[in-house]
């Protein structure tokens, strides 16, 4: 796999506001990359910079080795699927989809053939003569996809395309997008604020915060080894527990005396991260490789797949636990004393 897109120290300033503060990123040919972050983190600005709609203040963007900084959007080998679909309202579906090929000077017959092909691929064959206003949101979205895919771009840029759809449709479209990515063997750059979506679909994820990439790796790595509190909190659910350093490099829970089997050096404060699904309640096995903390149940919620409990550790920290379902868990009520434990390798010490 080679790098298809390479972004080098990209900076974008709007007056005194820094939208992108020196972003460097390499996107591999054929991969499905997500740019993940909350509103305002710069992910859309980054995507639009790749598309050519945002002129960088400094830094370089190269696609397939070629410098793109002075290349206008209509001459870049990329196509964009817009958040609000941006279908041309005065043209039919077929005319919309034909727009790209027409600009490229393709023959009429060839265009007609390709339109039929791509509409079939997105599940909208037969809709050629309809107008966008007669379509539902999900249908418009698929036409927007078709309109971009028909040009066989080197890179497909997607700007939060599933945001306006309801949950079920969104999940279905995620699978469809994944399938299209594989069938067409394209490179996808996908912007989203939905971490579940990013984890489900991507080969790699670039997590952004305030104009910078704070972690760039595959989903599993980011989930297991978040680089900072921000990433831990943003991806999946995380319990973040304050710790203090215990002479040298030892660590213990704040307000308590329990020494934890983690070590760190070089900073004064640390945070222990444990995911709720890694926390077990009940008798701890006699393993040495576990951390055991006594706690009291605060409340309990049924969430279909199991129970979610809020427990207060004896040190005062309040955390969430989502243990494997069992009869013992079901019988717990607020106020019960319980032993919380987790495999030590499931906890992560974060120093940022």
């Amino acid at each position: 796999m080679s790098d298809l897109i390479s972004i080098d120290k990209l900076v974008k300033r709007y007056g005194s506001v820094v939208a992108l503060g020196g972003v460097s990123l390499n996107i591999r040919r054929g991969e499905f990359l997500s740019i993940l972050g909350p509103s305002g983190c710069g992910k859309t600005t980054l995507l639009r910079a790749i598309a050519g709609f945002v002129e960088p203040t400094s830094g370089e963007i190269r696609i397939d080795g070629q410098l793109m900084n002075d290349v206008p959007p209509n001459r870049r080998p990329v196509n964009t699927v817009f958040q609000n679909y941006a279908l041309f309202p005065h043209m039919t579906v077929a005319e919309n989809v034909a727009f790209g090929p027409r600009r490229a000077g393709m023959a009429r017959g060839e265009i007609t053939r390709r339109i039929a092909e791509v509409l079939l691929a997105v599940g909208m064959d037969g809709y050629g003569d309809r107008y966008p206003r007669a379509l539902s949101g999900g249908q418009q979205q698929r036409i927007a996809l078709a309109r971009a895919l028909i040009n066989q771009p080197q890179v497909l840029l997607l700007d939060e395309p599933l945001g306006a759809l309801d949950l079920k449709l969104r999940k279905r479209m995620q699978l469809e997008l994944k399938r299209l990515h594989q069938d067409f063997a394209l490179t996808f750059v996908y912007v989203t604020h939905d971490q579940e979506e990013a984890l489900a679909m991507s080969d790699r994820i670039a997590v952004m915060k305030q104009g910078e990439i704070v972690q760039f790796d595959n989903g599993q790595e980011i989930y297991r080894n978040p680089a900072s509190r921000y990433v831990a909190d943003f991806i999946g659910e995380a319990n973040l527990i304050d710790c203090v350093l215990d002479g040298g490099s030892g660590v213990r829970l704040a307000h308590g005396s329990l020494v934890l089997p983690y070590s760190c050096s070089g900073s004064d404060a640390a945070t222990l991260m444990v995911r709720p699904e890694d926390i077990h309640l009940g008798d701890a096995p006699g393993d040495a490789a576990i951390v055991v903390v006594p706690a009291t149940v605060r409340n309990k919620t049924f969430i279909g797949q199991g129970w979610r409990l809020v427990i207060a550790l004896d040190t005062g920290h309040v955390i969430s636990a989502q243990p494997p379902a069992s009869a013992a868990i079901e019988q717990l009520i607020p106020g019960d004393r319980v032993t919380a434990w987790w495999p030590s390798e499931r906890g992560r010490l974060l120093t940022r």
Partner: protein
């Protein structure tokens, strides 16, 4: 908040009464007068005269020609201006200033404006002076008191209306549509021709309708700028009332202008509605 019947009656009653007294009633009286002869008996003689004498149709034709000319000129001048204001002027303050400059002439009296044009275009006016001074002509050009000068001076007044009508549609246009066109390979010109312009047509239609109806009913500007050499319907109607004191025939002429204008506008809108160009895109 629901308002009771009495409040509705009072709130609506005022404007409706005003409209009735000062518009509907005089209009009905005029319509009636158009079908009466001097002594009050009902007659169709005025309409017969209109139908058979080609002179009145020629005046009507000139009136509509001028109206069309003004619409076209305001479109040719106003559309680029509206486009520039929307897409190339980024500060809203500057946009407002330019618009105020456009609209300010409307605050002056129509007569003063028309005489301003005479100063510009007259035989001894600025344009002729410059052209003679530059040695381009030896004799002054006849720029004034022509049909063109009527069209130009009306267009000057109507320009801000067209700019506003087109500008508001352009301002509200979904920008991502234009980006999508560029993304798909269209250059700036193609984006304009295929996307921006077609989607702005509702504004052009609205603007041209306003400009046309105001132009065919204009009186002061054509009166002064025609210099007595041309006659439009409003001037003809004025003559009937104020010079010949023939209120009945004048009324018939007024009804003719109204009906023909309505027919023209209806035809225009129907044709455009068929091709789906009258409502702005979502």
């Amino acid at each position: 908040m629901r308002i009771g019947r009495l409040e509705t009656f009072l709130l609506l009653g005022g404007p409706v009464l005003f409209l009735g007294v000062f518009f509907l009633v005089p209009f009905a009286m005029m319509a009636l007068a158009s079908m009466q002869s001097d002594d009050g008996t009902l007659t169709s003689s005025h309409y017969v005269k209109l139908a058979t004498d080609g002179y009145y149709w020629s005046v009507l034709l000139l009136t509509f020609e001028i109206g069309a000319g003004v619409s076209l000129l305001t479109f040719l001048l106003g559309y680029p201006l509206a486009y520039y204001l929307t897409f190339h002027v980024s500060s809203p303050a500057l946009r407002r200033i330019i618009y105020i400059i456009l609209v300010t002439p409307l605050f002056t009296s129509t007569i003063v404006r028309a005489f301003g044009w005479i100063v510009m275009l007259g035989r001894a006016g600025l344009v002729n002076q410059w052209l003679r001074g530059l040695g381009l002509i030896s004799q002054p050009l006849d720029l004034i008191y022509t049909q063109t000068s009527i069209v130009v001076s009306l267009a000057y007044t109507m320009l801000p209306l067209m700019v506003l009508a087109v500008g508001s549609v352009l301002q509200n246009m979904n920008r991502s549509l234009l980006e999508a066109a560029r993304d798909l390979g269209a250059n700036s010109l193609t984006t304009f021709l295929k996307i921006t312009f077609p989607l702005s047509l509702p504004g052009v239609v609205a603007g041209s309708l306003i400009v046309f109806t105001l132009s065919v009913s204009a009186y002061v500007t054509p009166s002064i700028m025609s210099g007595g050499r041309h006659l439009v319907m409003s001037m003809l109607i004025y003559q009937q009332y104020m010079v010949l004191f023939d209120f009945n025939f004048g009324a018939a002429l007024s009804i003719l202008l109204l009906v023909m204008t309505l027919l023209l506008i209806t035809a225009y809108v129907l044709v455009l509605e068929r091709s789906g160009r009258t409502t702005a895109a979502p």
